[in-house]
């Protein structure tokens, strides 16, 4: 396929989706961590010692969810340009079941804010477990709904039957396998971002725990990924026979390996060293980039792309691209300015606090 408007939108979609996935992984991974930890403590399996990972996650999860939602607007826009019919049809077929993600996510959002509050800090183990598990379930439900929506959008031959059945749940074994891949895959990203956060705040004590979580989750997501690949039919697997397919799979696989090596380094040194974390960070970026590409290659196999190319070309001809580019640059600079203000002042504040101690 020669380079076209379709490629242009695919790149924009992929780039903005990858950004969304980084924040989404923090939310999904963080909510999972908090829920598991609180349930372990409730059953007596965990200890009561202060946990900087949980404390930091509790503090930053509302921000991360807000970031995930904001970053998610752009891919939500571009997916409507790229695959309008498939995306709209899946939305419509799932109907109330799909629309439920909004109230559920609002509930999850407020639960995350409540977890930050003083009353939640003082809450007993059972209440804490209820709150954190509730937040996790809300976030996980949203993730599961997206998985269902995505897979249903690829199943064009099944649309009319699904509609006739009146069902609001897309029952397919691939939904669970794919969701497991995403859920476990979110944890290494969460662990990595958390490691950088803890490193900055000089709380290095949790290195081993983070490494265990990241390695365990990376392994499970790898298994789920292979299992998901096994569910694909012959035609879809053909997506991986081309140059782009092989390259994307290789990048994703190499990224996964770099993460594993990076976290093993953390485990061996029992410290959050820049070298190991840097390797894991490159690995996370490579995996997200590779997996995002693979995801679209699979979709392109399922959707009649040639019929859409004319629509993409027409959309690309609409005015406003340069206004977008201009404000993208200007607003990126303004965001950098905000971050600089905060980072500079925050560093000075930490310095002063250190001297006062």
């Amino acid at each position: 396929m020669p380079l076209s408007a379709t490629h242009f939108y695919l790149v924009l979609y992929g780039a903005t989706l990858a950004l969304h996935v980084v924040f989404m992984n923090y939310v999904l991974g963080g909510a999972t961590y908090l829920a598991v930890r609180s349930l372990r403590r409730l059953t007596g399996a965990g200890n009561d010692a202060p946990d900087p990972i949980a404390e930091t996650a509790r503090d930053w999860l509302p921000f991360a969810l807000s970031a995930a939602i904001t970053a998610g607007v752009a891919p939500l826009l571009f997916v409507q340009i790229l695959y309008p019919r498939a995306f709209y049809t899946a939305n419509l077929l799932l109907f109330h079941r799909w629309m439920a993600v909004i109230p559920v996510l609002i509930t999850g959002f407020y639960l995350l804010y409540f977890l930050k509050s003083r009353p939640a800090e003082r809450a007993a183990g059972r209440s804490w477990a209820l709150l954190s598990t509730g937040a996790f379930l809300c976030v996980a439900f949203t993730g599961l709904s997206w998985t269902e929506n995505h897979l249903l959008s690829l199943d064009e031959p099944g649309w009319t039957g699904f509609y006739a059945s009146g069902s609001l749940v897309y029952v397919d074994a691939r939904v669970w396998v794919r969701f497991a891949m995403w859920l476990f895959g979110s944890l290494p990203t969460f662990c990595l971002l958390m490691a950088w956060q803890l490193r900055r705040s000089a709380k290095h004590g949790s290195a081993t725990r983070l490494a265990h979580w990241a390695l365990g989750a990376a392994l499970l997501s790898g298994v789920a990924g292979i299992a998901y690949g096994g569910t694909l039919d012959e035609k879809t697997r053909g997506a991986f026979s081309g140059v782009v397919g092989v390259a994307a799979l290789s990048v994703a696989g190499a990224g996964w390996l770099m993460q594993v090596v990076g976290w093993i380094g953390v485990l061996r040194k029992k410290a959050l060293r820049v070298g190991s974390l840097g390797l894991a960070a490159i690995g996370v970026l490579a995996t997200i980039g590779g997996v995002t590409t693979v995801r679209e290659l699979i979709r392109l196999r399922a959707i009649d792309v040639p019929s859409l190319q004319a629509e993409h070309a027409q959309a690309a001809g609409k005015g406003g691209l340069w206004v977008f580019v201009l404000f993208l640059i200007v607003n990126a600079a303004l965001i950098a300015w905000c971050v600089r203000i905060v980072a500079r002042r925050s560093a000075r504040f930490d310095e002063d606090a250190g001297q006062a101690l």
Binding site: A74, F95, W159, I341
Partner: protein, 468 residues
Amino acid sequence: MDQPYYPINDFGPLMKGLVIGGLGIVHVFVAQFAIGAGLLMCYFQWLAQTGRCLHARPFLTGYFRFFVLVSFVIGALTGVGMWFTSIQISPGTIGLMVGEFHWVWATEWTFFCVEFVAGYAFYRYADRLTEGERLTLLCLYSTAAWMSLFWINGILSWQLTPGKWTATRWVWDGFFNPTFWPSLLYRTVVAMTLAGLTACVVINTLTELPRAARGELMGRAAQFLVFMVFMPLFGVWYLWVMPEDSRSWVLGGSAAMTLFTMLSVGSSLLIGLYAIVGLVGKRLYINGATATLLCALAFAATAGGEFIREGSRKPYSIRETLYSNSITPAAVASLRQQGSTLRDPYALRGAEAYPHEQLRLGARVFRFQCAVCHTIDGMNGLMQLAGSWTTEQKRMNLANLQNTKPFMPPFAGSVEELEALVQMIEWEKRDRPPTWTSSSTPDALARVRVWMEEAGTAPAHARRIEGS
């Protein structure tokens, strides 16, 4: 013309317009509050740092917490919800809007990102920042928030008044359309009003401050309500540039639309009088209950305003481009030839309940052409609107639909489909009996054909223009 078919859901007795309208009102209310709140916080930060108001700082802290919990959660998620709901109601409309304006939406997204970063930076680090840095972050936040209004306002106002875009199809002709400026200015004043009113609610929660201090803060916040004096000006400007037929619905032509106009104008007037005479003129102190009541009135005004905006577009969802039922004006003639449901791949749910094929066809026609605005027997139900008509009246009125009710689109199906719809309404009116004898005859179909040809395919307002 290649008419896309999507699966259409049944919302039960609830009219689809109410679903999107309900969510839209909440979203618009919260989003406009967020925009005004940004401006208000800049003002209070300036008051604090210049020493003009000693209690501005504690107010700002309390207000920002309230703001984050409402705007960053409900505002953001109902915004996404608006997109999902638009898809549920009319994928054709949202698809066309995205196709035309995706770069505008993408530009708006870059401002969302600034809003988010500046807002959260202030939320987390305000206590560590200098006064100048605090003001910088708040100014960045509020500018980005107002700019997001600027961009979305262009798209929403285009739906009613596409202006020169109809001929040129150039995105900026559509964006800077006739209602763009009055709508933007009106919404800006609404945003400032909401900020002032919610500030009065929050001030009442600051019980650690003495009453005199709260009174002073209230006086400052009330200054934002003074801008309401411009509302009549912008409102009249908006009405002036509206299409004539749309204006006529709002100003008496449609009882429901006129009631919404009165609700919006009346509520705004009450708030404006209370704010300007009481709060600003006589420096009255209002308690939390009164402040909340004023916010509720503002919500009612917003609801009325949004219904006017949605309803005055009828029979279109995008003026002169797409009818409410997602059929383009250009497609009506061909759908009359080919039929509107022949290529619809989605089966009729509960088809076994219909005694014969003609009724099933009628139900499919209802689903494709009517269900976006009507129900069978619920809100805006066909039984209430057309159930009492005689069979012949139904045939004639549906064939001549755009002239029977000028805010309705022309019937966009074959003669047989129209007759099937008539039979389906009759059958529903008789409580869905298990057997049904159709009253269709070749003569009746011939009469329907003549009426449809006489009515033509143009909407009512186009015929009026031709006539004049």
